[in-house]
């Protein structure tokens, strides 16, 4: 019944616009030149080698991993705790506190940048791993709260009551019954938190300088002076991981609904 109409042509044109940058970084990443260009005659994986060989890139990859892991652990623990507490108590106060939890998504990043630049200078957390971990944990917190709360929304309160009536203490009821039910929500919340930290640029630009240099900061600096095709190599790797994750996820939901 659906014809391939003008609307569909426009939609697919927009989709091409959406994937154009993805399609462009891949050829740039194999250019043999040292400047931004498309490979003409030959291909080279030299820029990939740079990511590993160049100490600055490998340090940044390591720094990003350290910060993102720390932030993920912290925001997942706190976000899950909050979502479970709010779900179980269901008090109006919890509803209002939830809006507070969402603030780090809504507040513009530049406001965070000023706020943490000032505050971290006072407490001596500038250019420290802990300082950036704390900030990224707070930026990831809303995503954990949202995903865990979404998976709790359909959870029957009677499951917890049933566990208690069968002799489980409040802690046991949570560990044995509530948490297993929200495990997928917790994992996807953690993934959101990790990616949020991995991509976070603006605040990192303000609160770090020499000791901690995360990948976005390194890329930003690379973009500022002369554009290094190694960024395309890194971008390609990140694109491939993202596409793989999206495809796997699509196939999984497809199988579940089939």
């Amino acid at each position: 019944m659906q014809r391939f109409s003008f609307i569909h042509v426009l939609a697919w044109a927009t989709a091409c616009f959406l994937i154009l940058p993805i399609l462009v970084v891949i050829p740039i990443s194999v250019t043999p030149e040292r400047y931004l260009s498309l490979p003409t005659n030959s291909m080279s994986f030299g820029h990939y080698a740079n990511l590993v060989g160049d100490a600055r890139w490998s340090k940044s990859i390591l720094d990003s991993l350290i910060v993102a892991s720390g932030a993920t652990v912290l925001s997942t623990a706190l976000g899950t705790a909050f979502a479970v507490g709010a779900w179980r108590l269901g008090v109006p106060l919890a509803r209002r506190l939830r809006l507070l939890m969402l603030a780090p998504i809504i507040v513009p990043p530049i406001v965070h940048a000023i706020a943490f630049y000032r505050a971290w200078a006072v407490v001596g957390l500038l250019d420290s791993y802990l300082g950036l971990v704390l900030i990224h944990a707070m930026k990831g917190l809303p995503f954990v709260v949202l995903t865990v709360a979404a998976s709790l929304a359909n959870l029957d309160h009677r499951l917890e009551q049933a566990a208690r009536s069968l002799g489980a203490t409040p802690g046991q009821a949570m560990r044995w019954v509530v948490l297993p039910q929200v495990a997928t929500g917790v994992v996807s919340g953690a993934a959101f938190a990790f990616i949020t930290s991995w991509d976070e640029t603006i605040v990192a630009l303000f609160v770090t300088s020499r000791r901690v240099v995360t990948l976005p900061r390194r890329i930003w600096e690379g973009l500022a002076d002369n554009i290094d095709p190694a960024i395309a190599a890194l971008g390609t790797l990140m694109v491939l991981i993202t596409v793989a994750a999206v495809v796997i996820n699509t196939l999984r939901t497809q199988r579940r609904t089939a």
């Binding site: 927009t14 462009v24 497809q254």
Partner: protein, 286 residues
């Protein structure tokens, strides 16, 4: 035992655990997040001296006025273009085969997850003077000298629309999926032309999603930093970049804090407005 005594001792023991779970993250956020952000608001009226002198710059300072005007103009234009394209994609998503829908959705979601920096980088590569577009056009002999596509508003808006599209498409798609598929055929059966059925039935029903998506895109556009900074190349300056310059170069903390406060207030106002059209939480969930 009195009724009051029973009621107070009746707070189930298990609830204390959950109160702790609820309160601990709030204390963490209050201490490490709310205090620094409030400090920015305070700075806007205390640095360099107590008073509203920073806010006077909103009207008195031509540079500030120009930056704000640029921000609003680019924000609104970006929102309008994003909504138009996003509406088309969402409409196609709802009105297409399952196979096509999956491919389209995968493209939207994948572009959603690509790092904003990598995307800005790619757009520079595509749009710069020696970039893909200009090389292609010159190679075809359509133009003699390269078009100026970056370091201006065109480049900024291309990058911003690209970043914002998934934020518009996903809520619009969610909204349109909820519209009963038999309504438009019903309108047709009652004598409406396809255009009338769309205008009188489908469009009004998708309006809340359209407004909600528009507000979300506007909120993110107004505070956008990375894409304008990279693709604007210092020529087109939006408020976030201007604030950053005040801090790192001219050290005018009061002005920076005032602009940050103004930006925050505008965004919160928009969120409040958004909450009247849709569930804010659902809108923010990726």
């Amino acid at each position: 035992m009195s009724a009051a005594a029973v009621a107070s001792s009746g707070t189930p023991r298990g609830e204390r655990l959950y109160w702790a779970l609820l309160v601990l993250p709030c204390v963490f956020l209050g201490l490490f997040y709310v205090v620094p952000v409030i400090n920015v608001l305070v700075m806007s009226v205390t640095v360099p001296r107590l008073g509203l002198s920073n806010y006077a710059d909103l009207v008195a300072n031509p540079a500030v006025r120009r930056v704000l005007w640029t921000t609003v103009r680019i924000g609104v234009l970006t929102t309008a273009i994003t909504l138009l394209l996003g509406y088309i994609v969402a409409y196609a998503l709802v009105h297409t085969s399952a196979r096509q829908r999956q491919t389209l959705l995968a493209i939207v979601v994948a572009s959603f997850w690509i790092s904003v920096l990598i995307r800005a980088f790619a757009w520079v590569a595509i749009l710069q003077s020696a970039g893909l577009v200009n090389s292609a056009l010159m190679g075809l002999g359509l133009i003699d000298s390269p078009l100026q596509l970056v370091r201006n508003e065109v480049g900024v808006m291309i990058g911003m629309v690209h970043y914002m599209l998934p934020y518009a498409i996903l809520p619009l798609y969610a909204n349109m999926s909820g519209i009963d598929r038999s309504l438009v055929p019903a309108a047709r059966a009652l004598g409406a032309t396809p255009a009338q059925a769309f205008r009188w039935v489908f469009l009004p029903m998708s309006l809340p999603g359209l407004i909600g998506a528009g507000i979300i895109v506007l909120i993110f556009s107004l505070g956008f930093y990375i894409t304008p900074a990279i693709l604007g190349g210092g020529k087109t300056i939006m408020v976030a970049e201007y604030i950053s310059v005040q801090i790192s170069e001219t050290l005018r903390w009061g002005l920076a804090a005032m602009l940050a406060t103004t930006l925050l207030a505008s965004v919160l106002l928009l969120v409040f407005w958004l909450s009247r059209f849709m569930d804010v939480e659902a809108a923010l969930r990726k």
